[in-house]
């Protein structure tokens, strides 16, 4: 049983991260991946603020756990977490995607402290995570590699090459998390390019599958803890989520996959998230 105060703290953090995302995108017509960032917010909060061993003062700490956003377009939720943890100043968040900013449109390991590797061309992150997990096994390190994938991304064939590799090398130090928000850039996944049963696929590929509500903090933490107990095979957590979660007008709305916010939408989003934050005070 996870303590209630931990759950409350993490729920509050997730809300703060969503607010940071809205602040980063701003209300001046710049586009940003609001939907896929908000669907991952609770998972990111649980990982960075509870589960993972990291040291913001020493981003390259050898014994750290690692997190890769294979769905690299949603990196802004990761930027929010890294800033809240102090990897870099929160003052930099509004520079997102501006010329010269350390906060690129997609993850860049050479520019941003805490970013492990470049992703964004979809379908490649799980393979990279496998490489990191293999290295950790070679070095006999008791660390974990977490990799967040989008469900739209699962159409990329390389994901399934990687899924075979994880199972083949028995990478029980790797946890894949599918942020299953059901929407890709142009519409509902099952209407655009139906990928079928994600859990059946991973099971058939030799993975241990856990299905959860990706916005229920207790379920997220229980799943992450349960993953630690699985030996000899990789674990995938399939998290049912809502794209745009936490911003009423963006929920389940593909217009906010990578759309701009009007001034009014920006203010409404902040108002809603502030009201949510208030609940925790």
């Amino acid at each position: 049983m996870v303590k209630e105060d931990v759950i409350t703290r993490l729920n509050k953090t997730a809300t703060q991260l969503r607010k940071d995302v809205v602040l980063m995108i701003g209300g001046e017509g710049h586009v940003g991946h609001l939907g896929g960032s908000c669907s991952s917010a609770d998972i990111i909060a649980a990982l960075y603020f509870h589960k993972m061993k990291v040291d913001p003062k020493n981003p390259n700490w050898e014994d750290r756990d690692k997190l890769l956003m294979s769905k690299g377009h949603a990196v802004i939720i990761q930027y929010a977490a890294l800033a809240e943890l102090g990897y870099f100043s929160k003052d930099l968040l509004p520079t997102l995607k501006s010329f010269g900013s350390i906060l690129q449109g997609h993850p860049d390991r050479l520019k941003t402290p805490g970013i492990e590797v470049g992703t964004g061309s979809l379908g490649q992150g799980l393979s990279i995570a496998n490489g990191m997990a293999l290295a950790a096994k070679l070095d006999k390190k008791d660390t974990k590699v977490y990799c967040i994938l989008g469900d739209g991304e699962l159409a990329e064939g390389q994901v399934w090459e990687a899924a075979m590799t994880s199972a083949n090398y028995k990478l029980d130090n790797l946890v894949a998390i599918v942020d299953k928000n059901g929407l890709q850039a142009t519409g509902a996944i099952e209407e655009r390019f139906n990928i079928g049963s994600v859990s059946d696929k991973f099971s058939a590929f030799g993975w241990h599958v856990i299905e959860i509500d990706g916005h229920n903090m207790e379920e997220i933490i229980d799943a992450l803890d349960a993953a630690d107990e699985v030996k000899g095979k990789p674990v995938v957590i399939i998290a049912r989520t809502i794209k745009g979660k936490g911003v009423s007008f963006a929920e389940n709305n593909v217009a906010f996959h990578n759309g701009p916010l009007t001034k009014e939408q920006y203010e409404l989003a902040l108002k809603e998230l502030d009201a949510e934050l208030e609940k925790y005070n």
Binding site: D108, R109, L110, E116, V117, G118, T119, G120, S121, Q124, G125, S127, I128, A129, N130, G131, M132, A133, L134, A135, A136, L138, D139, G157, Q158, E161, A162, M164, T165, N168, Y169
Partner: protein
């Protein structure tokens, strides 16, 4: 070390030597280890050898993950499969991220003569040299291949090494140390300079000797670093020559001919090339048949040189 004339054997033996020196050296392969000779490493260091199955894209990204964790990751398969199939993986994670992934493109050029156009890499150097942060090495014999593998391990960042399938004549002595970007003059001469690399070094040397017999003095330069390309050396080595000819087992587009032409853009010295035209390869039972058909022999080099005189 064996006295092999084969770059693939040199690659395998050098990997084993590197593995002994540095425990961070790891090797990935896509089911062609028996041909690329990376299986020599597997026999000695099985725990650091990763058979990735016939899945080149996954192999390259996995190598990126290993490299991001402090490993020096060598990934080998046929040149055509290590550059083309996972081009995006190389670009996105390895090159942009400047990761320590060393790609070995084996059976390059037309050297996989029997397998035909699908397996013959006529454009691998164009693909790899166009990428920022990439170093591209094109050794001309087994000794230089060894040197290239060692140099690759020392370089901080991605490297592509082009390896031929077939035995090659010796031109480089082990004592002559490899220097990144250095163009090696294999034969001095005054009238014409031939810039070449890989298997075409031998053809160029044959051509130079025949031309010498006719009283034409030819300098032969071995270009074993295709990137960073040493433009100054091209200008310097061509100074006072009447003409420049390039010779390569690669398409003229984006290969040595393109690079030398660019290096000489402010020069009045005329140049021509011997290279594969804008064509794919095809099967043959002997590599010589292909070299003849695509115009990659000493005969064509002599012809191009004489055109200028």
């Amino acid at each position: 070390m064996s006295k092999t004339k084969n770059q693939r054997v040199a690659y395998g033996e050098e990997l084993v030597a590197l593995g002994a020196k540095n425990k961070n050296v790891v090797v990935l392969e896509a089911d062609l280890g028996k041909s690329t000779m990376s299986n020599m490493f597997q026999q000695v260091y099985p725990e650091r050898y990763f058979e990735m199955g016939i899945a080149e894209q996954d192999m390259i990204s996995t190598a990126a993950g290993l490299a991001a964790s402090g490993k020096i990751a060598f990934a080998s398969t046929f040149a055509v499969f290590v550059t083309g199939r996972p081009y995006d993986q190389i670009r996105q994670s390895v090159a942009i991220g400047k990761l320590n992934v060393k790609l070995c493109g084996s059976s390059a050029g037309l050297s996989d003569f029997g397998d035909g156009s699908t397996h013959q890499s006529i454009e691998d150097l164009a693909l790899m040299t166009v990428l920022p942060n990439m170093t591209v090495l094109t050794p001309c014999d087994a000794t230089e291949a060894r040197q290239a593998v060692r140099a690759a391990a020392e370089i901080d960042g991605p490297v592509y090494i082009r390896v031929s399938r077939n035995d090659l004549e010796d031109y480089i002595s082990e004592e002559d140390e490899f220097e990144l970007g250095k163009m090696r003059v294999l034969k001095e001469g005054n009238d014409v300079v031939i810039f070449t690399f890989g298997a075409m070094v031998h053809e160029s040397m044959k051509a130079a000797k025949k031309l010498e017999d006719e009283g034409i003095s030819v300098k032969v330069v071995n270009v074993s670093t295709m990137k960073p390309f040493n433009e100054e050396a091209v200008v310097e080595l061509s100074k006072n020559a009447k003409a420049v000819v390039t010779a390569e087992e690669h398409t003229y587009i984006g290969g040595l001919a393109s690079k030398v032409a660019l290096a000489l853009r402010k020069s009045s010295i005329p140049m021509d090339y011997v290279a594969i035209e804008d064509n794919f390869g095809q099967s043959a039972r002997d590599v010589a048949d292909l070299m003849e058909h695509y115009g990659l022999t000493d005969k064509q080099i002599i012809e191009k040189v004489k055109n200028f005189l």
